[in-house]
């Protein structure tokens, strides 16, 4: 029997690859290998509804467990791949089993960065947030009245802070940069979320460096700041970004550069090996970029299935993202990298607005807070290469739909 296409990593990219492969009627056999004991599942709800306890686990699954067998796809969950041997076209599992592949698709994802153990990063009561197991460990600790300390003011930290407030915890968030979301958004967006969290009772401490986590009876009990100040905590969530899982790719000798380097066909430096999602980096507008998002994982997985089926396609999808915090729906379209100007478009209510990012005259991206029209029509405007003047979009009387369709 011919060797299958082997997919290593069972996340969004893998699910999307398999779904497209099935939809295209491609008869090549597939083998999906995942380290977690679950079929591919949605990660975005982990820091939102799943942590809140409003979504049962099975509803996270992108396809039901039985679906894979129904499609004739072999799966091995709870199985780690330790090595890739490109010369033999084999992957080696942690139990030493060698599995032949015809083509290999790496969907290994990313992992949450943690704090070094020397400063308390490994203490009981300190969590990172990336998987079902992470949430199942931390959710019982999210009890009303307890003190949560969040290290890092990125989207995951902010989402967890919102859930914690909704569950009645006291929340302090410490961000070492001058402002929350500094790495990913303009000051106007940071201002919006600072106010949102302050209004919901989160104590935000920006431009604040920590030196170490403190322990009492072998469990985390607080943090010491550079100023010497101590903040008490019953539990700590570390949300300081993610790193690509590239160990397998490196062991296979694949080119890596902040992720597994892939072409516009999602092909790595070995023509039999593809990569998709958080684990890979690719060229966009002259930069080597890596995205941690559902859109990117899904679109790249989908693309690889099309490439394997012989379609002439290349990756150029417009990125989009979202976040939910309290009653705010944030929707982002485009990439704001390299912007040199932003304008704010006021929304219909006090809690809605959008931030439009430009480089010169070119519209790059939009952050829309409770402003689905700016997101939906803005997406069309960017997709069709229109670059309305910043003054035009900042004018709330401008009809975005007309601008998008015009």
């Amino acid at each position: 029997m011919a060797a299958p296409v082997v997919i290593v990593g069972a996340g969004q990219a893998a699910a999307s690859f398999i779904s497209r492969h099935v939809a295209l009627g491609n008869a090549e056999p597939l083998l999906l290998i995942g380290e977690e004991p679950h079929p591919p599942y949605q990660r975005p709800p982990l820091s939102k509804k799943y942590l809140l306890g409003e979504l049962e686990r099975e509803r996270l699954f992108i396809r039901p467990l039985e679906w894979y067998a129904e499609q004739g796809i072999e799966t091995r969950f709870d199985t780690r791949v330790d090595d890739v041997k490109p010369d033999q076209k084999q992957v080696i599992t942690s139990t030493g089993e060698a599995i032949d592949y015809d083509r290999l698709v790496l969907c290994t994802g990313s992992h949450a960065r943690s704090l070094p153990a020397e400063i308390g990063g490994a203490l009981p009561g300190v969590f990172t947030l990336r998987s079902i197991a992470d949430i199942d460990r931390m959710a019982p600790e999210f009890q009303s009245g307890r003190k949560l300390l969040v290290i890092g003011g990125g989207y995951i930290g902010l989402e967890a802070a919102a859930v914690a407030r909704q569950l009645g915890l006291e929340v302090t968030l410490v961000e070492m940069a001058d402002r929350i979301l500094q790495r990913v958004a303009a000051a106007e967006t940071s201002d919006y979320f600072r106010k949102l969290h302050a209004d919901h009772g989160v104590e935000l401490r920006e431009a604040t460096r920590m030196t170490r986590l403190l322990a009492n009876d072998g469990r985390v009990c607080g943090v010491e700041l550079e100023s010497g100040e101590i903040i008490d905590a019953d539990l700590v969530l570390v949300g300081i970004g993610g790193s690509p899982n590239i160990e397998l790719a490196q062991s296979a000798g694949l080119d890596c550069d902040n992720g597994i380097r892939v072409s516009a066909l999602c092909q790595t430096s070995d023509p039999s090996i593809y990569a998709a999602g958080d684990c890979c980096s690719f060229s966009r507008d002259g930069r080597q970029i890596r995205l941690e998002s559902v859109q990117n994982a899904a679109d790249q997985g989908d693309l690889i299935a099309r490439v394997l089926a012989g379609e002439e396609v290349s990756y150029s999808a417009l990125p989009w993202f979202w976040s939910d915090q309290y009653d705010c729906k944030l929707q982002i379209v485009g990439l704001n990298l390299g912007h040199d100007r932003t304008v704010v478009r006021p929304g219909a209510s006090e809690t809605s607005l959008s931030v439009w990012y430009y480089r010169g005259e070119r519209l790059l991206a939009i952050d829309a807070m409770n402003e689905p029209k700016s997101y939906a029509f803005g997406r069309k405007i960017i997709e069709t290469g229109k670059n309305p003047a910043p003054e035009t979009v900042a004018d709330p009387t401008t009809d975005l739909k007309a601008l998008a369709m015009g």
């Binding site: 099935v22 975005p44 509803r59 396809r63 039901p64 679906w67 979202w322 689905p372």
Partner: protein
């Protein structure tokens, strides 16, 4: 429980019993209905679960709210009066027998 039927453009059909409380995007992906992707998981950000509700069922499936109405502008196949994002239709016994037509992007 509701029995839902998805009708494809090529005349094929898929029917399934859907548990109360599940949304019909989830039900579609679980039952391998083509062209329903639901990338955003039902949070109104992707518009990849577009369906046309059979006209007889329009009243029963309820109103389109403002966000859904806006997101329907983003669908691959252009919206019509009976367009819905299926993640916003929640299964219940009232919808037993519902027919959805699945648009096929080019």
């Amino acid at each position: 429980m509701a029995n839902i039927t998805w009708k494809m453009e090529d005349g094929s059909e898929i029917s399934a019993d859907v548990k109360d409380g599940l949304n019909l995007m989830e039900a579609a992906t679980a039952n391998n209905v083509p062209h329903i992707e639901g990338e955003c998981g039902g949070c109104l950000s992707c518009a990849t679960c577009h369906v046309f509700v059979d006209p007889e069922w329009l009243a029963t499936t309820g109103e389109v709210d403002e966000i859904e109405d806006t997101m329907l502008e983003m669908t691959d196949v252009e919206r019509e009066e009976n367009s819905r994002l299926s993640c916003q239709i929640i299964a219940s016994s009232e919808l037993d027998g519902l027919i959805l037509h699945v648009p096929e992007p080019e």
